[in-house]
């Protein structure tokens, strides 16, 4: 039995993430940790996140999770970032007049704009709903998931797919954006696997089975 830890830094949707992990890993211990002590003994970490990035970063730091996550990354523990959990792993975001992230990836987040399409309709922001993810590599987290499957997105800031050697999945929404990024034992998704029905559960199942090597 492994210990899967979901970091709880006060930023929403923990229940869904935890519930989805329990569904795919019924024999494992899935815990929500509010303190670094509760993370001890973790076999893998999940960094969820919903909301504005400034509050997320502040919550994450004030709960003492910055050194915890960096230590886990160094130790080779499989780490999954979801939505704003992925965004705080970047170097910087334009949101809230500019917020520095953890810098686990050197990218910066930009605001999606809403240009008019050639058909004359306006693209809406947030990017909200089910969009296709084109896989960019053979990462173990894509196992048993068809290329171009649909996942649920809801976000207004994005990591560009261009000049991004960490890209693992990409999605078109006026721009081409990073739907998933990977680096060694870190996998991070802009979409919500815990809200993406069967394909999302499959991705979480793959994470639970992943040895952290890529």
């Amino acid at each position: 039995m492994q210990k899967i830890v979901v970091l709880d830094y006060g930023m929403g949707n923990l229940h869904s993430v935890t519930g989805a992990l329990r569904k795919v890993a019924p024999g494992d211990q899935v815990v929500q940790a509010k303190t670094p002590e509760e993370v001890e003994g973790a076999d893998r970490l999940v960094v969820p996140g919903v909301g504005a990035i400034r509050d997320c970063m502040e919550g994450f730091a004030s709960q003492g999770f910055v050194p915890v996550l960096k230590q886990a990354v160094k130790a080779g523990l499989p780490v999954l970032g979801i939505c704003v959990g992925m965004q705080i792993m970047m170097r910087h975001s334009e949101e809230n007049n500019g917020v520095d992230g953890l810098g686990l990836f050197p990218q910066a987040l930009k605001l999606l704009h809403c240009p008019f399409t050639p058909a004359g309709t306006r693209l809406k922001v947030p990017h909200m709903g089910w969009n296709q993810v084109t896989q960019q590599d053979n990462h173990p987290l894509w196992a048993n998931i068809d290329d171009n499957s649909r996942f649920y997105f809801v976000h207004s800031y994005y990591v560009p797919a261009e000049n991004n050697r960490w890209i693992s999945g990409q999605t078109k929404y006026s721009v081409t954006l990073a739907a998933a990024m990977a680096e060694k034992n870190i996998f991070a998704t802009q979409f919500h696997p815990e809200k993406s029905a069967n394909d999302g559960l499959q991705l979480l199942q793959n994470f639970v089975n992943w040895n952290g090597h890529y």
């Binding site: 929403g12 949707n13 923990l14 229940h15 869904s16 519930g19 989805a20 329990r22 569904k23 919903v50 909301g51 504005a52 509050d55 704003v84 809403c114 309709t121 306006r122 809406k124 922001v125 947030p126 990017h127 909200m128 709903g129 089910w130 969009n131 296709q132 171009n148 649909r150 649920y152 997105f153 809801v154 976000h155 207004s156 078109k172 929404y173 919500h192 815990e194 809200k195 993406s196 029905a197 999302g200 559960l201």
Partner: protein
């Protein structure tokens, strides 16, 4: 290739039970929100919306328990609305597993509440629900379940709410609600063209062509319906197939 339009079944919940008539032959207990949500998840609904129609203080904890139970077993987005008044209400619902929170009367009473909520939790989870009725050449918004007139112009209100930080607008035509005559397409188009956030059309769906019209003629990003799905008149799958055949990108 791209973002799909969404079909959202809407369930009215009171004291932890789905009310206002849901009849499925497939489900033994037609009042159990978990069973009904699982059913809609299984047949391909893109999201589910719960409206807490009692929303008295005693029932606040009941809706939290309901959301928790549903979120444990249903892995598509959940929107919850009804009686949301404080940041604490929003926080509790999000922690219970809701993804988006619909705000109606509280936004009219204190428009800045929407701004505070969006600032704290992100605009992606703040839905402003607008109930509108036609008044000559414009639409007026109503609160308290459609009982209280406000004198506020719906188009201007949608723009103000989007600027304040609403991430989505749930737009219901009070004139059409329950009539099965189709969405108020003029209202839908007026609001979708006025704001840059997604708009969910609601009120009046009686057949599948109405759903397609909401997207293609009204310009909506998603369509919400209750009775046509609850009573088994149409399945979500049939609705999606119909809409795809009409040229709308759907998640099939």
């Amino acid at each position: 290739m791209g973002l799909t339009k969404r079909i959202i079944p809407c369930l009215d919940v009171a004291s932890g039970r789905v009310v206002k008539g849901v009849q499925f032959t497939e489900i033994r207990d037609a009042g159990d929100p978990v069973q009904i949500a699982r059913y809609y998840n299984a047949v391909g609904a893109d999201e589910i919306t719960f409206l807490d129609i009692t929303a008295t203080s005693d029932d606040r904890n009941t809706i939290l328990e309901t959301v928790e139970k549903v979120a444990e077993q249903v892995f598509i987005p959940l929107t919850v609305g009804g009686g949301v008044r404080t940041l604490e209400d929003i926080r509790n619902l999000l922690n219970a597993g809701a993804d988006k929170i619909a705000i109606n009367s509280a936004a009219v009473k204190h428009p800045e509440f929407v701004g505070e909520a969006a600032d704290r939790f992100g605009c992606q989870c703040i839905v402003v629900a607008i109930d509108a009725r036609q008044r000559n050449d414009h639409w007026e918004i109503f609160t308290h379940g459609g009982r209280q007139a406000t004198g506020i112009n719906a188009e201007k209100w949608a723009i103000e709410m989007a600027q304040m930080g609403a991430g989505e607008i749930l737009l219901t035509s009070m004139d059409r609600d329950g009539t099965k005559k189709g969405f108020d397409l003029a209202l839908t188009r007026t609001v979708t063209e006025a704001v840059s956030v997604p708009v969910i059309a609601s009120g009046g769906v009686g057949n599948l062509q109405h759903l397609a019209d909401g997207i293609q003629k009204g310009g909506a990003d998603a369509v919400l319906a209750a009775s046509i799905f609850h009573f088994g008149q149409y399945t979500v799958g049939a609705a999606k197939q119909f809409m795809q055949n009409a040229g709308i990108e759907m998640r099939i």
